[in-house]
């Protein structure tokens, strides 16, 4: 297909694609998102390709490699369309069996099905799996139906229809009104209304304007933007083109994180394909509107997720933020009005334009409309990416979708908002999740990391972890942030190592206040949150470290003591074998010799925990 120069031509092309596709024809889709990559999906893909190559049955069986489906815990995932049979934890050797049994004979392979954790029932179809049932996948759902390297796949699911509508039946003003009416709030963390931002940028007096996609997803524990860019890059591009048209920008940038090489590749392919078809570049679809997008790779600095730092980096400078007396929508990149939104925000735009703000605002709560993608990770059974309507409770996310806490352990808290966010304790588990509620309880939405923690997570250690992160990532421009994070980390280390005093808690609160008040950007402004929220909700745990020199979660190494229970020890000697310090002595039990129970020389022990990991009989105790 060559360049498309009218919306009618695009629709004809779409019809052609759809005509060539029989929805009832079987199609094997394999998830190749990063979660599945870590569980070995590429070998599964190769195995399927080999099986299909050797098959000469004639009737077409389609094969599609897709982006992330979300249920990363159970990867590699294989879904057989049209019935959407879900096979989980598929191994390369399963490929031929799946092909012969399920595709040729229509038989379901029980061992590969997902088993309901409580009822033990095998579940055949994707939509029946509890993990997917409570989700509302309006943004993320197409990931499973699209090969990100094929623009035809995106067109087949209605892609670029919203762009046609925007360019040919809406004025820029009307688009902005629609986005404002939908109350689309920035999904990158701030939650600022996107429509208001667009309007200010549009009205800024300058001929040159920029739109920027912030894909510098730096929050640890969040990877939804990565999965969107990797799995459905055209949805982000379409949002950006619509935004650029509304604002009056002709140049755009996607600033992608250095750690996401596949996202860079896939968005690059998408840009090329969109240009070839005339959906990007000069005179888009014959509308007279020109818009081009360039990719810029980040350098691996967390602070570059901040808008002014990101723009400084785009200009070829170090990524330091500046004061925002004048907002970037008035004077941003190279001093021109620049509208920056996050990946997920841009991906929401085509949905709003296509289905209308009235439909969109039915989803969510009063102040937060639509859905939000969370990365549900940490100590939870079903880890992965979940898209839920705003207002869903934490309990529903953790228990109904997440399947609860593994190993029968007790739920302790959820951390949201990355290093800028806070911990939400057990007592607030029925909290409806939206921008405002999360802020009220001392956390924030952030980009959507949701880290579940159980009783074996230490809150002092967690606060120390975040402070270590922030002190490393502080760009150093503001003294309050540079020094404040460093001193807070030092104090937390004192507490974690048993040298803390009760005065330290007051000092932490004071330092936190100064850091937040006196720093320029949001990194410093929100840096104390992990400390203040853990002190607020888990004060006793701090006291336990300070007064009793004990770490109840058994994490803070300096306060631990390892011991081998002689009555449980089977004298297998595994612990002694793995001990790097040769601190474990005893005698192995063999057929000839009775053996001696093993014991740890506490003077030599460096508390690495290897013996605890190695012991299969739970004979190593941590105190």
């Amino acid at each position: 297909m060559g360049r498309i120069s009218t919306p009618q031509e695009l629709e004809r092309f779409r019809d052609e694609i759809l005509k060539g596709r029989d929805p009832n024809q079987p199609c094997i889709t394999v998830c190749t998102g990063t979660g599945c990559h870590a569980s070995g999906c590429h070998q599964v893909v190769d195995a399927f390709k080999k099986v299909l190559q050797n098959y000469s049955g004639g009737n077409g069986i389609n094969f599609r490699v897709t982006g992330c489906h979300g249920f990363c815990e159970r990867g590699p995932l294989v879904v057989i369309h049209p019935k959407k049979i879900l096979y989980q934890r598929v191994k390369p050797e399963d490929a031929s069996t799946i092909f012969e049994e399920t595709l040729l004979k229509g038989k379901i392979l029980e061992p590969l099905l997902y088993e309901h954790p409580t009822t033990g029932m095998k579940i055949t179809h994707e939509e029946e799996v509890p993990f997917y049932q409570k989700q509302m996948r309006i943004i993320f759902g197409n990931n499973g139906n699209i090969d990100p390297a094929q623009i035809e796949d995106y067109l087949a699911v209605g892609g670029y229809r919203a762009l046609c509508k925007a360019l040919f039946s809406m004025t820029p003003e009307k688009i902005i009104r629609e986005v404002k009416k939908a109350n689309l709030r920035g999904r990158g963390g701030g939650g600022f209304p996107a429509g208001v931002k667009w309007e200010t940028c549009k009205n800024a007096p300058d001929d040159i304007k920029y739109v920027i996609c912030n894909a510098d997803e730096g929050d640890p524990g969040a990877y939804m933007d990565r999965s969107l860019l990797e799995g459905n890059p055209h949805s982000v591009l379409e949002g950006m083109i619509i935004g650029a048209y509304a604002i009056g920008a002709h140049e755009g940038y996607v600033y992608v994180r250095n750690e996401y090489p596949l996202a860079v590749v896939n968005i690059g392919i998408a840009i090329e394909q969109a240009k070839e078809l005339g959906l990007l570049g000069e005179n888009i679809l014959g509308s007279g509107f020109d818009f081009d997008i360039k990719i810029s790779r980040g350098g691996g600095a967390f602070v570059c997720g901040e808008s002014t730092a990101l723009m400084a980096s785009l200009e070829g400078n170090v990524g330091e933020p500046r004061a925002k007396h004048i907002h970037t929508v008035i004077s941003g990149l190279w001093d021109h009005p620049s509208n920056l939104n996050n990946v997920e925000t841009w991906a929401n735009v085509p949905v709003i334009i296509d289905r209308g703000a009235d439909w969109y605002t039915q989803i969510g709560t009063e102040g937060s409309k639509g859905t939000k993608i969370f990365s549900l990770v940490g100590k939870v059974n079903n880890t992965g990416l979940v898209e839920v309507p705003m207002g869903i409770t934490l309990r529903e996310i953790v228990y109904d979708i997440g399947g609860g806490i593994p190993g029968g352990k007790k739920f302790k808290a959820v951390q949201t908002g990355g290093p800028s966010g806070g911990c939400i304790p057990d007592s607030l588990i029925d909290l409806p999740v939206d921008f405002d509620r999360l802020t009220e309880v001392g956390s924030m939405m952030g980009s959507g990391g949701m880290i579940v923690m159980d009783e074996s997570t230490c809150m002092v250690d967690l606060a120390k972890y975040f402070m270590n992160f922030l002190k490393d990532e502080s760009c150093g421009k503001c003294t309050s942030c540079r020094e404040g994070t460093k001193r807070m980390h030092e104090i937390l280390t004192e507490i974690a190592e048993g040298r803390g005093t009760m005065d330290h808690l007051d000092l932490l609160e004071e330092l936190g206040w100064v850091t937040a008040e006196a720093s320029l950007c949001a990194l410093g402004g929100t840096a104390p949150n992990p400390v203040l929220s853990t002190i607020r909700y888990f004060r006793e745990e701090y006291q336990e470290h300070i007064i009793n020199k004990r770490c109840p979660a058994k994490v803070c190494r300096a306060l631990l003591q390892y011991r081998i229970l002689s009555d449980v020890c089977t004298m297998c000697g595994r612990c002694a074998k793995v001990c790097p310090e040769k601190a474990i002595t005893g005698k192995r039990k063999t057929k000839k010799e009775a053996g001696e129970p093993f014991q740890i020389n506490t003077g030599k022990c460096i508390k690495c925990g290897m013996c605890f990991e190695a012991c299969k009989f739970e004979a190593v105790e941590v105190q």
Binding site: T34, G35, H37, A38, S39, C72, E73, G75, E217, G218, D219, P220, G221, A222, Y223, N258, E259, Y260, P261, S296, R297, G298, G299, G300, A301, F302, S313, L314, E315, G316, N317, V318, G319, S375, V377, G378, T383, G384, L385, Q415, G418, G449, I451, M453, T457, L462, Y465, F466, F469, D472, E473, C475, V578, P580, E581, C608, G609, M610, E613, A614
Partner: protein, 164 residues
């Protein structure tokens, strides 16, 4: 690195000052570090003072001014990996290889690095070696994982605590 190669990279981006980050990234990808001569050459070509290039090269984590090992081990210390014991994984690598994060083994076979999040959170703790992900790591698995990348595949240890 030949200056003609560097010129090729510079020209590819149209030689504008703003693309300095992209140029440095390409050189880093190719050489696995930023050689001093390359930085000097870029400065001359783009009329950027070396001090500014040095500032950028040391500000961003993606760059290294020291030569790297053949294999780059990146241990994720994102929050999801942290709560599942990521710190113990890096400690174990340090113990096995005898180097800390940011260092390279004397035989230049391994460089050990940490990262604040690899974005593979569901599979934590995660380690990436030369871009290949290893999910659900545990301290016990560290030794066998390293072995896959050892030159002579033997049990030889660089570490201080070798058990040989």
């Amino acid at each position: 690195m030949e200056s003609s190669e560097i010129d090729k990279i510079i020209n590819q981006y149209g030689g504008k000052e703003s693309v300095i980050l992209a140029i440095l990234q390409d050189i880093q990808a190719k050489e696995k570090y930023l050689p001093k001569e390359a930085l000097e050459h870029i400065g001359e070509q783009l009329h950027i003072p070396l001090s500014k290039i040095y500032r950028i090269a040391t500000f961003f984590r993606a760059f290294s001014l020291m030569p790297r090992g053949r294999h780059e081990i990146v241990v994720c210390l994102g929050t999801a990996c942290h709560v599942r014991g990521g710190q113990r994984i890096i400690d174990q690598f340090t113990m096995e290889l005898g180097i800390r994060s940011g260092e390279t083994t004397p035989d230049r076979n391994f460089t050990l690095e940490t990262v604040n999040c690899l974005g593979v959170c569901a599979a934590g703790p995660v380690v990436a070696i030369d871009g290949q992900y290893f999910g659900k790591m545990s301290p016990i698995k560290v030794e066998e994982t390293i072995k896959k990348f050892r030159q002579d595949k033997s049990d030889k240890k660089e570490g201080l605590n070798g058990k040989n």
